[in-house]
Symmetry: C2
Subunit: 156 residues, 2 copies
DNA sequence: TAAGATGATGCAACCCTTTGTAGTTGCATG
DNA sequence: CATGCAACTACAAAGGGTTGCATCATCTTA
């Protein structure tokens, strides 16, 4: 699976994204091609800075604001998700790759993976009772793991 | 109800917070007194900048980094919550005042209030199945309201 | 192909928040 | 008191991200 959920080669993939962009009156530029590839090829949650590093290897004069703007565009098109995993920078992820969430311990930074099914109930409730289409595709839920919780109890 | 959930006058209230701080080896300074009062007296979700404005009216040389550090301290003590309501700055709120959440439309900025009960189920699930104490006290859940969703459909 | 319109980018400036640090304040102990 | 220690603060600098704007690239239409 790639960024838009069809099985195909990278180049074809990019053509399809180009189509998606074109349908909205947007354009597939070399910068966007590189940025899409960086998110697509990352094994997991990549940051804007990391994407930027990859891009400037080929196009050294690309600006990081272009990276941020492109990522926002991709997020609006629902091709990537933006997630706060508690390390002070936003992480990006292909929207259709490995549906899941994360439980982030504020104390020790531990990250526990959470199946997406855990939130489908609340999503339906919010739609039915509040007429709201909540975006719960890739969340970082912050709190405390039991290990850190026990430590506090022991200290007291 | 005030910042620590007991019915009492402001001055007493501050003494109690002072006690809470003291138990952790921390001190109640004039700066902290002002910051606590600002959060406590705000009718709702106040920003660091707004707190800062109030504080410097009495102590003009207080620095905004002190405001941020104090708010973090209060958040760690679970006396205030930090919430992202999608307007580019964090909002602070007394933790025991009006338990609720917010549904934030990314399109039009509309904010729908959500009863805290809507998330008690998932909180229990996360604790039981994942041994994780999720902090779901005052969330801003982002997504799209039906009005904005209909607009997109109409355009297409 | 020319002209106009719209989208995209680089750059600089800015916004919100965090962090390092040196100096101060307050508490405890002798 | 004097001394020592830990907490606290102001200040400055930096970090992550956004925005305004002039310029550049691409598309449309004639
Ligand atoms: Zn993930
Ligand atoms: Zn932990
Ligand atoms: Zn609220
Ligand atoms: Zn809306």
């Amino acid at each position: 699976m790639n960024l838009f959920g069809r099985k195909q080669k990278q180049t074809e993939a990019h053509n399809h994204i180009a189509d998606d962009l074109s349908q909205k009156g947007l354009r597939m530029t070399p910068q966007r091609l590189m940025i899409v590839a960086a998110v697509e090829n990352s094994t997991n949650h990549i940051s804007a800075e990391e994407i930027y590093e990859q891009v400037i290897e080929k196009y050294p004069n690309v600006n990081i604001s272009t990276v941020y703007r492109t990522l926002d565009t991709l997020a609006e098109m629902r091709l990537v998700t933006k997630t706060d995993l508690g390390d002070g920078r936003v992480r990006y992820h292909p929207a259709d790759k490995g549906h899941h969430h994360h439980l982030v311990c504020r104390e020790c930074g531990a990250i526990i993976d959470l199946d997406e099914k855990a939130l489908t109930g609340i999503q339906a409730t919010l739609l039915r009772d509040y007429n709201f289409i909540a975006d719960l595709r890739h969340l970082g839920i912050s709190g405390k793991c039991v290990k850190c919780n026990r430590q506090v109890v022991r200290e007291t």
